[in-house]
Symmetry: C2
Subunit: 595 residues, 2 copies
């Protein structure tokens, strides 16, 4: 902090903003961009610090209000809630007229910068867009930028050639009157060019930028050292490779020749807009043109997703059988399974699977009250034993070459309480209502969200997170544009999209419940009375739902029918791939139930 303040003073700045972000403004950040963690100690996936001459604050959302107090010294930083105490307001209160606040235009969207600017101008202070980041000047042991080689994503998994994708997206650009699009999302570029990398944890992303032209040519900006000769052959003639430093001059050229350039105001850094505007380009703002086609998986990707989920489900079945065999016995014997051990066991089982590349996110393995912490991550200090009479929640996923998985199961260790069974059954009713839904084309996830909450609402309960997020195909486990959530979302659910179905219920200090399957949006098989083309969800995840936590009397016939049919599918999918003990367990765990 002292060094940062000296650096700011040296630059005649009175303050600086440090968001948890890199130049791609996404969820996945490489080590060399973890400036917020380096400066403050805070390792959450979202947050922001503001450092002024004599004061500083760190802003996090509701998920991290406890964690930030553990990790960040209260003497150095005031703790603030990101949305309830917006950084702009805090800054306006703490800065004086005439002072200057620096921001790195690579790490904020234009809208974020405008919000900050409006707030501090009220205080008579001004915002300065910096050419380089002051933290980098003082970060002595800053890790090098990630340099993992980029590899081809074969057509057997991608299902469509990069050349075809480039042509199709270029066609969309032309429709919008754009001569070129600046693509800043690493997963968009990975999808567009059929490439993968290892630059960040949990997601096979090569970090890079691209400019896609209306003639389908792509200029790809990444360290040439990451590109092997084999990869060059894979990407073909339509794609030229450029040093990242060339992005600026390329934008300058587009501007100088009066081109219309599309960029996404939500996901692209302010720097892109500043540079393009200064160069004289006509800016067209709109969603990243790869987002929608990437979200709508093609038949090969969907087949891959089904195959990946079959393998992943088998690991989960083996894990749940192990847990059922061991957890109660060991708890009674005084040698309980711990959260970390359980997570390790599950990862080891996944590791035996064909095409497995690693976890798709940090496993959430929460026993008892830890299960109520929605973004809990077990560590040695926090790891709890799986105690008798408690619930254990495990949310995990795998990256496979043919698909990305994400699944949550909540299981009872020993006999669950009546209350837990009631809450679990309500969560299950919501899960089933969504899983069974048929809906007309054009329906958005926000329209469907209430189906997952209705049963909880009837009891005066709710959960404070979205119901479903998009999932990539061997890519990010969180992707847009679709979402199932309370907040209005204009992106209709379209065939091929993969989303999670994950209602939950959390009782602070006691237990957490979440039932999460991934589902694919599909054309619903026609029924005789249908007057419209209906869409529906195909559940991809294949793992049993704990029958001991279900109160069958709370389920209506349609719900029981869904549950029994789902369990029959799970049984059929894994029966022939399991050893005798696991197969016998699966038979019991998926036995039909009645009211």
């Amino acid at each position: 902090m002292t060094r940062l303040r000296a650096e700011l003073s040296h630059r005649s700045l009175d303050g600086f903003v440090i968001p948890r972000a890199d130049a791609h403004l996404g969820e996945y950040v490489a080590a060399d961009s973890e400036r917020l963690a380096w400066l403050t100690g805070f390792t959450g996936s979202a947050g922001m610090a503001v450092v002024l001459d004599a004061s500083a604050a760190i802003f996090v959302d509701g998920r991290y209000t406890l964690q930030v107090r553990d990790q960040v010294a209260g003497g150095l930083f005031e703790y603030c809630h990101l949305s309830e105490q917006p950084p702009g307001d805090w800054i306006a209160q703490h800065m004086a007229a005439g002072q200057a606040l620096g921001v790195d235009p690579w790490l904020h969207s234009e809208q974020q910068i405008e919000t900050l600017r409006a707030a501090i101008e009220k205080a008579g202070a001004s915002l300065v867009l910096l050419d380089d980041n002051p933290v980098d000047s003082i970060w002595a042991d800053r890790p090098p930028p990630p340099g993992s080689p980029v590899v081809a994503h074969p057509l057997d998994y991608a299902g469509k050639t990069a050349a075809d994708k480039r042509s199709e997206v270029a066609g969309e650009l032309a429709k919008q009157g754009a001569d070129a699009a600046v693509v800043t999302l690493p997963d968009s570029i990975a999808w567009l060019l059929n490439v993968r990398g290892q630059d960040v944890p949990n997601s096979p992303l090569p970090l890079s930028f691209a400019v896609l032209h209306a003639d389908a040519a792509v200029q790809w900006f990444l360290d040439p050292a990451k590109v092997t000769a084999k990869l060059r052959a894979h990407i073909g003639n339509g794609v030229t490779i450029h040093d990242p430093a060339e992005l600026g001059p390329v934008l300058d050229d587009l501007g100088a020749t009066g081109k219309a350039v599309l960029a996404d105001p939500v996901t692209a850094a302010s720097w892109i807009f500043e540079r393009s505007r200064a160069a004289g380009a006509t800016l067209i703002t709109g969603p990243d043109p790869c987002q929608l086609p990437k979200a709508c998986k093609n038949p090969v990707e969907l087949a891959g997703a089904r195959a990946a989920h079959a393998r992943d489900g088998r690991s989960l079945v083996r894990f749940l059988a192990w847990l059922d065999r061991e957890a109660e016995v060991r708890a009674q014997a005084g040698d309980p399974i711990g959260e970390l051990e359980a997570a390790g066991e599950l990862l080891a089982l996944r590791g035996e699977n064909e095409l497995f590349q690693g976890p798709s996110f940090d496993t959430i393995s929460g026993a008892g009250p830890n299960g109520a912490i929605v973004h809990y991550r077990a560590e040695e200090a926090s790891s709890r034993p799986l105690g008798l009479g408690e619930l254990f929640l495990v949310d995990s996923g795998g990256q496979y070459l043919d698909g990305t998985t994400d699944v949550t199961r909540t299981v009872a260790i020993g006999a669950p309480s009546e209350e837990a069974r009631d809450r679990f059954t309500r969560v299950l009713k919501g899960h089933i209502a969504l899983a069974r839904a048929r809906f007309p084309r054009g329906t958005t996830g926000s329209q469907l969200d209430v189906l997952a909450r209705y049963s909880l609402w009837q009891a005066g309960l709710d959960y404070d997170h979205g119901t479903g997020h998009g999932v990539g195909s061997y890519l990010n486990v969180h992707e847009g544009p679709q979402r199932i959530a309370k907040m209005p979302n204009r992106s209709a659910l379209e065939p091929g999209m993969i989303v999670s179905n994950e209602p939950g219920y959390y009782k602070t200090g006691a237990y957490g419940i979440r039932i999460e399957n991934l589902v694919a949006v599909v054309d619903s098989p026609a029924q005789s009375a249908d007057e419209k083309d209906m869409l529906a969800f195909e559940t991809l995840t294949l793992a049993p739902i704990d029958l001991r936590l279900i109160g069958p009397a709370l389920l209506v016939a349609d719900e029981l029918e869904w549950l029994n049919a789902y369990h029959a599918r799970v049984r059929a999918a894994h029966r022939d791939t399991l050893d005798g003990a696991a197969a016998a367990w699966l038979n019991r765990a998926t036995a039909p139930i009645t009211a």
Copy 2:
């Protein structure tokens, strides 16, 4: 048309736009503003004509595609769909560079004018805002403006004094930094000043404008002849009365003194903005500040709504008993009841009620296939007999001094088909899901909409209208800002709001089904497990739902329980007010059913 074109030519205009609108841009239009109907013959509640030198078009939405062909000569006007063939596009195709299109800035919002302007400027044409309306110059027998006297709406029904309302809304203005608000919605003014009138059909509106100042003073612009001495005493000192022609000069004064003026960009005419801007006012755009407090009924208004619904429901019970006694017998005797006769009978029964002032909208009385026309209005030529084996849909409502009602019932004449029972039961399941819903504060109607559609969607069916609209208190039967519909709406449902719950199903050429009750948003009675303050709906409408159309096997226990409890309420509400035959009928019509 010839005269209009001559008039346009005389004014050096190449075209003119005639919307179905008056200066208040609402649904309710007085006879002197029915320019579209006078010019084209089209009497629908929404639409627009464009007349150019050599061509003309009329734009209507899906509700009116049949009606417009009946009423408007195809040789004079091209028929266009309002949203699929937007007027701007048509105009751009039919106008030449250099031509001028006139619009009356009193009859369009600014956004509507900007949309038109953008479209025609593409064609090189220009938009001219006119000082007076060319149609008025040629409309020889134009009715005089409505001159009905304005009457006080007593505190016994209003529940809050106008002085208190003015203070409260003025407080909101101050919060928004506004010195004054221009209020253009007649129902907002009627609510604010506790007055009612008879200027338009079906809704007790006095047409007028008002300027509310931050000190709670109101300048009220209406024909002074409408204001009796008694009314002057009622409105008190804080309200001054001005000739409507003074509105312009008052806006000029506000601008000249540098005032900040709030106006609603959705509901206020472009003229208001043009005039204020020209005068130098600082314009603050935001929702009409009366809308939200008007929508949240106070306890006196809610008590009035309950009382009005009790009386209204009794009339409906008597009507349904009459229908049940007569319809089948008369159909068998070859002397069937007609749609107009049924509507007349219902109106006559309502007319016997205390405090009844008239219908709240034109009754929809549709037998068989006419029931499938969502905005059907029976006339001599179209009136069908209520035939055996058919469904009869009747959507009607009353204006009472203590409340506004709106109710739809669908009944079987003779034995219904299995299909009709299946569809009716699905509509009922949706109705019940919404009626039973508990939901956290902050929930919007768009979040809940799917509850009313789920059961239909499961069968591949849907209905092409919203699920619920706001309803006024002895005011407009359609009011905002809340709505239950597929389209996202940011207005949360708040205690005191009254909305309709009206899912339906329509089979073109065969039958229509709709089950509509009004419900009030209330604090949900607390239950032991509640972790949040929940809201819920209290059903206001008290009339039986036709048991012959229900397939009990399709209902689950919660749904049966709701239906039986609702019918028990209906029975208890009316039992003591009916004669023997009607009471006996009601007992049968509300008997508990089982699966």
